[in-house]
Point group: C3
Chain length 158, copies 3
Amino acid sequence: MSQYLLLRLELAAFLDHYTNIIDSDRLEDWPGLFTEDCLYEIIPRENEDAGLPAPVMYCDNNRMLRDRVLSLRHANIYEKPAYRHFVSGLEFEVVNETTYALSANYMVVNTSQAGESAVYQAGRYADQIVRTDAGLKFKSKRVIYDTLRVQTLLAYPI
Amino acid sequence: MSQYLLLRLELAAFLDHYTNIIDSDRLEDWPGLFTEDCLYEIIPRENEDAGLPAPVMYCDNNRMLRDRVLSLRHANIYEKPAYRHFVSGLEFEVVNETTYALSANYMVVNTSQAGESAVYQAGRYADQIVRTDAGLKFKSKRVIYDTLRVQTLLAYPI
Amino acid sequence: MSQYLLLRLELAAFLDHYTNIIDSDRLEDWPGLFTEDCLYEIIPRENEDAGLPAPVMYCDNNRMLRDRVLSLRHANIYEKPAYRHFVSGLEFEVVNETTYALSANYMVVNTSQAGESAVYQAGRYADQIVRTDAGLKFKSKRVIYDTLRVQTLLAYPI
């Protein structure tokens, strides 16, 4: 039992590390949390429920993640987001000795340039996490959002 | 000390399991998290503070919880909620070898059919959790909410 | 590894205890969570980023914290806050055998007297926590907030 609970704690710490990298704008460290042959996608919940694809962001290898960071750094974004992630409701299954399937609620509070803080997006992470020689990594991370109004043009990682 | 911390982790995992069952609309599994002779109530904070009863939802045995799920499944709800629970500030006391008194903040973010995500309700859980042969169960769960505008007609579990 | 994870759990429990003391209006217990020679400040993020001081609340010893509580108790506050803290994204470093440097996201949901619950403030804790004979204490706690509209006159602890 206590092994399972410690594993839970380790996965929670990994998620916290992930969200801190985004919230503190260390995007260059973001691809390093994924395996080389990873999947990362942001998809509306209604598409997920209907079994339809059409993610607003889709990367199926690490190079695409790195390209995304470069694009974000060089794009003229009118308003740079000021995100704060909150994660709750973590549950996971042990798929095999080095792979875990994880689900958790997330919420992003954004503060606009006018200084207003509000719920920007809520949804669910559905992740596959693997243990590698270099620590835990996302083999796949699926961000399934409830909220309708989501910036789809050059989306930031969530 | 580490036994106490592992117990904390176990109670947090149980709460996360509880909120996931609601958020993923697996309401049929919800009564199974309670003992047979359980108490479940949703009550406004001002009533709680004044020592007045008048909960908006009150069930004092497991059958009432199961009836509630049936009612919700067969009722014509205009707008089915899309809840995301967030729990923080967990504290607990060991009442006896198999009973724990727990308190935690909760917040429910709801996404309307128009796709807007916002804080729907905030409050505090005040729970008695017992360890049974079938795992942890709520002996009582009191949902004490701060927010005024709460749907009182056929309320969903929180 | 498991020692590090248990330490993480202990720090999370301490933060939860801290936020509960505020949310349940036990302000008299609040200074007891700090060392005698503590630092407590609430500072806007833009000042922090620019390396400028000008915190909206600044206490550099425990007596100032106790004075603050007395002021809050005796002041005519038009509307007493009804806070719920949510903390996520905890990360920490072990500075030395008894000192930990911690960072975490926080969000405060406030419910107005009209009964509306909304995000009141979001930001980041940057804390130094020390292990003393009387348990964990904040040696310094810096509350760095993103939100612009923050009540600066007789601010409550966050």
